[in-house]
Symmetry: C2
Subunit: 145 residues, 2 copies
């Protein structure tokens, strides 16, 4: 049995985050010691590692909740899990595309800015003039991070 600190260390998750996950029902309520401290089993560690890994991959807590409830029913088809992963992949790809465009625009901004005055600054100029913008980068959804 692990205390919350050891669990956090083992899974790479901070202690308050673990308590937060319990609070929102992503982790079951932990067993308690005689002194009311949380105690965790190896299974709990696996579940937390799963969550952490999925978070690292950019899945939202909602998506993770779905994935966890799927993994509790190992006899069903994995189509639903597949769908969640595919949606996540699509989102990652769209973010990649946007970021690539941003990168080149930022590079263009930075190149010419070696010591001039603000009045001629490319950075300020580009930001101020929407028409110089290559495309309409919009933020269609909040980033799940």
């Amino acid at each position: 049995m692990l205390t919350i600190g050891k669990l956090g260390e083992a899974a790479g998750v901070k202690v308050p985050t673990i308590r937060y996950y319990e609070q929102i029902g992503l982790l079951p309520e932990a067993e308690r010691s005689s002194g009311n401290q949380r105690l965790y089993s190896r299974k709990a560690l696996e579940r937390l590692a799963f969550i952490r890994h999925a978070r690292d991959l950019g899945f939202s807590l909602e998506a993770i909740r779905d994935l966890l409830s799927l993994s509790d029913k190992p006899d069903q088809s994995c189509a639903a899990a597949d769908a969640i992963a595919k949606a996540q992949l699509a989102e990652v790809e769209s973010r990649l595309a946007r970021l690539t465009a941003l990168k080149s625009e930022l590079e263009r901004m930075v190149v010419q800015c070696a010591g001039g005055k603000i009045a001629d600054c490319r950075v300020i100029e580009v930001l101020g003039d929407h028409s110089l913008c290559s495309a309409d980068h919009r933020h269609p959804e909040p980033e799940p991070n």
Copy 2:
């Protein structure tokens, strides 16, 4: 003079967001009509367009605040603006690198998931087993979006 709705439309920013920007001091307090409604000049539109464009490029509101205060002093060196843009570029590059890694991991997950049962699902399996993970993708900073 534009009403807040027209301004929002022209700049591509939602009305409550404009009021929020005013509240946090990113936009100056707007003039008011006799009936207490906000009125905006062309200059205000430019400022808002600047903000929106910078947000699209992923700058935080704090960075934008700095950029705006710089652009109010056109005789100073643009080194500071340059530095802000370079920092932003570095962050975009690091996010790009992370996302690229995530994408290939997600692709690997999704490839083999065509109709099996949850018990054999690659998605669940990969998420559950940290050791299959190519590298340590951590989220060092919150994404500014």
